[in-house]
Amino acid sequence: MSEWWTYRLGDFLMFSPRVYERLFVLYNQALWPAQLLALALGGAILFLLLRPGNTGMRLVMVLLGLAWVFVAWTFLWQRYAPVNLMIPYVAPLFVLQTLLLLGLGTLKSKLNLPAHWSVPRSLGSTLFVYALAVHPWVTAFPTSRGLWGAEVIGLTPDPLAIATLGIAAMANPASKAWLLMVVPALWCLISGLTLLALQAPLAWLPPLAVGMALVARLWPRR
């Protein structure tokens, strides 16, 4: 299969930048005003993350799990799959992530956040805040999409994956947290490659989120 190495990244791209942009614009128009609810729920999760507790953490995992399956169906399957033949193979991973979040995060849960601020907690929280409050703006205005093209947490995959990485990066115990990071990290790498092939200026953002999450996860815990 040495022939594979003769392909460029762009050879695997099967849609144009205008189709990718319009994907988000039409999606947001169809869902409006669900964006407000998603942002409000994201704000609620942030509130719970700032006051770590077992019940709150379970609620966070449930909300995240529901968001992953919602994005799998409404965005990936219904909107993205018709123009990207790889998506039918990726969408089941989002469902798997839902099961992991609900399973590892709620059943006899020992998943928790550190009580005190530390480098991992700071990095993880930064990732979550970025996904919630900054990502919609950087996907809307530096591009030609406008606000209707914003990628909102809970409704689109990139901010959801980055937010999940942030939470998993600071959570304990490590064994469960690592499992929760696999699918979001994989999606961020896929998304980064897609954006790179589209020559999008912010293609480095999703892989950077993976890098930050890995640093946080590997940072020595006391």
């Binding site: 849609f15 123009v83 999409r145 606000l147 209707w148």
Partner: protein, 311 residues
């Protein structure tokens, strides 16, 4: 927010309206057949001829169910047919492109005028017939004019499927495809051994390996040749666009680099047609205009290739 969107929508809407207007202006098929200026070339071994420039659909027609972009693509198809084009090429690998073509054909009432070229693309040959039927349904045509084994995927079994369909009258012509200059040895072997009608390969002013063996073999075997990636998916145009066209390009009425490159490709006597893809009406007109006299002779073709090589 809404302001930006509305500006975008107005632009798309205008494009859609232009497409609809172009569709309304579409001349009837018998008129197109008499269009004097779009050159055609006889398909070797077949009693038919095709316009020298067709229409590809990789990336450009993969627009999902976006209404504005579907209408934009319909506008491109309307301009293509109005300029005398016929062959449109697609594949199950091209996402929603087949459905976009079907939408355009339906909107334009152009099912009878299109030369429908598609592909079989599956590594499970048992799925081949169902895939072809799904493709045909997307296009909305009674049958395909040409079906090709895409990139030689499971080519032996898939070609058997296509040959059986041809025997049954379910497709008119069969062929194989490759691109990027890959697997030419395999392509050559299949061209020698299999009863093909067409071969599709990458050929342009800088990708000329096919001149050595495949194009002469296509002539010897009486095969039609479809040239894909004429602009290397725009990379060739981007590479040349800031360079001046030579003055002597005027001798062949090549007013742009796209026409310069297309005229080089379609003037090769063994090429049946080139299939550039585009999202823009003005580009499809520009491409079809390249399929007009004068075309370069062999000496000028060498000069053209040397010139591009020197840039």
């Amino acid at each position: 927010m809404p302001r930006h969107l509305h500006a975008l929508s107005r632009r798309r809407l205008l494009k859609g309206l232009l497409g609809t207007a172009a569709a309304a202006a579409l001349p009837p098929l018998d008129t197109l057949a008499e269009t004097p200026r779009t050159l055609t070339r006889e398909v070797p071994g077949n009693d038919e001829s095709l316009p020298l420039v067709g229409l590809g659909s990789w990336i450009t027609f993969n627009v999902g169910d976006d209404p504005a972009l579907l209408e934009s693509c319909t506008g491109v198809m309307a301009a293509f047919f109005a300029a005398g084009g016929r062959l449109i090429d697609s594949s199950p690998m091209y996402g929603s492109s087949q459905a976009t073509i079907g939408h355009g054909l339906s909107q334009l009432g152009a099912v009878d005028r299109v030369y429908a070229a598609d592909k079989i693309w599956t590594s499970s040959p048992d799925d081949g017939p169902a895939q072809v039927e799904a493709s045909r349904s997307h296009w909305g045509v009674p049958r395909f004019d040409l079906l090709q084994v895409h990139n030689l995927v499971a080519w032996e079994a898939n070609l058997d499927t296509l040959l059986a369909m041809k025997e049954a009258g379910e497709v008119r012509r069969v062929g194989i495809t490759t691109s990027h200059g890959r697997r030419h040895e395999n392509v050559e072997r299949i061209m020698r051994e299999a009863p093909l009608d067409f071969v599709q390969l990458t050929y342009n002013i800088v990708d000329r390996e096919a001149e050595q063996r495949l194009l002469p073999l296509a002539r010897e075997k009486g095969l039609g040749v479809i040239a894909n990636r004429p602009f290397q998916q725009k990379r060739l145009i981007r590479r040349l666009e800031d360079k001046p066209l030579p003055e002597w390009a005027g001798k062949i009425d090549a007013g742009t680099w796209a026409q310069f490159i297309l005229k080089f490709i379609i003037s090769h006597p063994d090429v049946t047609c080139a299939i550039p893809a585009t999202t823009q009406v003005e580009h499809v007109r520009e491409n079809l205009a390249a399929a007009r006299e004068p075309l370069p002779d062999a000496d000028l073709r060498r000069h053209m290739a040397d010139y591009v090589q020197s840039l």
